[in-house]
Amino acid sequence: VRTLADAELFTRRYTGLRGLEMVPVYASLAFASFAECIGWWREGDVGPRSLLLIPVVGACWLIRRYLDRTFGVVKPLSAGWGWCGIGVVVFYVLQISANRTGVHIDFTGPALGVLAATLGLRDHAFRRHWLIPAIIGFLMPFVVPYPTPPSARSAYTLWFGVLWSAFTVASLWDHLLLVQSFSDDVSS
């Protein structure tokens, strides 16, 4: 590393930069959404989705092993699971309250938008590319009506396909930053 500050900063950021780990998950979700959008898979078709899980789990395991052996393992001071838990509870409270009071908003898109925005804005917006999936997530309630009528079902799945694709690209971008960080250090 070039400076001590770099060493400290890079160690803190390292876990977040292991985005490649999540690429199979996001890519499979994007694929499933597009497959449903174009009519390959029907809504709630469990069979092909379950089959997709096998290569996804295998790919995640292989990628994790590759990252561990190539770049190493860092256990962060806080994994942020507490905030994730609070986020899930807030999401369900908002969604259930909206449904009961007759406010027709699907909070799934905005919730994923908040998740992406959090990743994009933390640590001095170092991973600001996450703001693109955040915007796509936030726009979802304005694009797709809720409850979704059958005629808008393909728009709903298409939007999710686009959202998960943006998550996939952002994760790949994280990996690019990780590789660049190490190669910068070696060359300096």
Partner: protein, 115 residues
């Protein structure tokens, strides 16, 4: 001239008295990195410091002997994995080291012999 000489000598003595175990660049990088996480493995530290494995091992052994870090050897599947974590003493020593360097910097800035 004498006061300038004395001030310079005092700063030099203070610098010489800094903890050399921590002040060595590679060990300072390792301790700084470990202070910003719960633990890190050998591969990560090697990538971070760009040191040879043997060289890094020596630095880690010195820090472990001084009680500044703990080194745990285990396995990840079939592959050996060495996990390193900073101890409370290590954190204190690192903090004290930075405080000392800050003080030295202040003294050097405020000294009469500085141009």
């Amino acid at each position: 001239m004498t006061s300038r000489h004395n001030a310079g000598a005092r700063v030099f003595e203070d610098v010489a008295a800094t903890d050399r175990l921590i002040h060595e660049p590679a060990r300072l990088v390792v301790l700084t990195a470990l202070a910003s996480c719960e633990s890190a493995d050998f591969v990560f530290l090697q990538r971070l410091t760009a040191l040879q494995a043997g060289n890094l091992s020596q630095h880690l052994a010195k820090l472990e002997q001084a009680g500044l870090i703990t080194v745990t050897k285990g396995f990840s599947g079939k592959y050996p994995q060495t996990t390193v974590a900073i101890t409370d003493d290590g954190k204190k020593a690192l903090d004290n080291h930075w405080k000392k360097l800050d003080e030295l910097r202040k003294i050097a800035k405020g000294s009469s012999w500085r141009r």
